[in-house]
Amino acid sequence: MKNIKIRINDLNFFYKKKPVLKGLKGEVEEKAITTIIGPSGVGKTTFLMVLNRLCESIPDCSVEGKVEIKLDGRYIDINSLPLTTLRKKVGIVFQVPNPLPMSIFKNIAFPLKLSGVKDREYIKEKVEQALKDAFLWDEVKARLNDSALELSGGQQQRLCIARAMIMQPEVLLLDEPTSSLDMEAALKITELLKSLKEKCTLIVVSHYTSLTRKISDNVLTLKDGCLEISENSKIVEGLGTVN
């Protein structure tokens, strides 16, 4: 019996009055990697942004329906949580890495600063731990005060993951995290995601490549505004690599 972290019921999403997600239903397993695949433009990124209510920053959008997340053993509607709390529990990493124009250290420490944490020693510890969790510590430990914009694409993406992980979120959303990276960097990220599984629930939007096939526990297909559970074998036979 799987533990369910997120329950979605009858989710509708409208952009400029046109429906993008229609009556979406689904469940996301706790502490597992769920991959969401589907044709381009079908609304995968939109779906992620509903989960942490980032869609509210997009003009001309409206959302209806119920999304519940399990916190402290209870299922809570995400609309009833304060936005800032929700986003600390549900982190997100985007397709194109977006480090802030600050030093590497400051980037990672930024969420702590937002929460008002002032203890320097504590911050240093947390930053080091987050960088280690993201497999980035060894590469940057000697240059924490250098600008984050100077890192390579793959390093920047791992930085973004570290930054999202520092608040120990319960869910981490990743929107095609490896699509802007070369093969080697993508491999590193994929290994990283596998290791993060024990710490939090992962939802990855991706093309169903050989990489994601290796690490995914569940695969959901987003088609025509609805989510369908796909059996691994069915994917290999029917859809192949979806572009």
């Binding site: 936005l83 800032t84 986003r87 985007f94 977006n98 930024f110 937002l114």
Partner: protein, 293 residues
């Protein structure tokens, strides 16, 4: 269209360009020719010694020093009013404003930006008359009124620059902070404003340039030809642009006229410097946009 007509059109365009450059060239050459000879310390300090004048020990009566100080003080006080209100209003319009009210605000601010400066000066004058009658007999057009009026004049520049810099950001920059759990205010203060600092400062410098060169507003709100350095907010004062205007209509000797040209060169240098600085900062801001993917 036959080739002759085409040739005419092209020729006309080239002539326009040459005429324009020629006109400006002649103007500047004339200015420097006449004014360069009077560019020395006595232009600014008159008969008083440099140190005495600078430390305000003796009053400078026949130099530009009081006018230059007047202009400087005017700029500083005006932007002290204008920056906080302007930046805050710009932030409101960009981040918090209800879609219904935006057209109203936009209309009000666009009209304010388009109002002729003499009208702003007239407004300042009217305010001082009003206060004189209803508040205190001591209030006349003065330094304080001038700086408030100038602040009203440049407010639209600062608001527009701040608002546009915040609105024209790529979605990823706007939401990075929010995605990390920042509140709206934290996002604005810690990410958006620092990111746009160059643009906002460029707008402020533009406002400063406007304060330095304006004559119409100050003419109606308290500037005079001879007042020394203002010793209180309610006193009258001198300013560089007004000195130039005054000299043009009331000069007693060739020497005084040359001083006018010298003053022109000084004012021109200040303004061109400020506009160039503002331009450079805007360019830098644009470059930052394009290198950050």
């Amino acid at each position: 269209m036959n080739r002759f007509v085409e040739y005419q059109i092209k020729l006309f365009c080239w002539i326009s360009g040459v005429v324009l450059i020629g006109a400006i060239g002649i103007l500047l050459a004339f200015l420097f020719n006449k004014g360069i000879s009077s560019l020395n310390l006595s232009l600014i300090f008159g008969e008083t010694r440099l140190l005495d004048g600078l430390l305000l020990k003796t009053e400078v009566v026949d130099g530009l020093f009081p006018a230059i100080i007047g202009t400087l003080l005017l700029i500083i006080t005006s932007i002290i009013w204008a920056i906080p209100i302007g930046v805050a209003a710009g932030i409101y319009l960009a981040e918090y404003c209800n879609i219904k009210w935006k057209p109203v605000f936009n209309l009000m601010l666009d009209v304010l930006a388009g109002i002729p400066s003499i009208l702003v000066g007239l407004f300042g004058f009217a305010v001082s008359v009003f206060l004189h009658k209803h508040l205190s007999e001591h209030i006349y057009p003065c330094f304080l009124i001038s700086s408030l009026a100038l602040a009203c004049l440049v407010l639209p520049y600062i608001i527009r620059t701040t608002e546009q810099s915040l609105v024209n950001l790529p979605f990823s920059i706007k939401t990075t902070g929010l995605a990390l759990g920042a509140s709206r205010l934290q996002n604005i203060l810690f990410i958006l404003i620092p990111y746009n600092l160059s643009r906002i400062i460029s707008g402020i410098i533009l406002a400063i340039g406007r304060c330095a060169e304006d004559t119409a507003v100050i003419m109606l709100t308290g500037v005079v030809a001879m007042a020394g350095i203002p010793n209180s907010l309610l006193s009258q004062y001198e300013a560089l642009p007004f000195y130039i205007f005054y000299i043009s209509s009331d000069y007693n000797s060739q020497e005084e006229l040359m001083k006018g040209f010298g003053a022109c060169i000084i004012l021109l240098s200040i303004c061109v410097f400020l506009f160039a600085l503002s331009h450079i900062l805007k360019r830098r801001a644009v470059m930052r946009f394009t290198t950050h993917t």
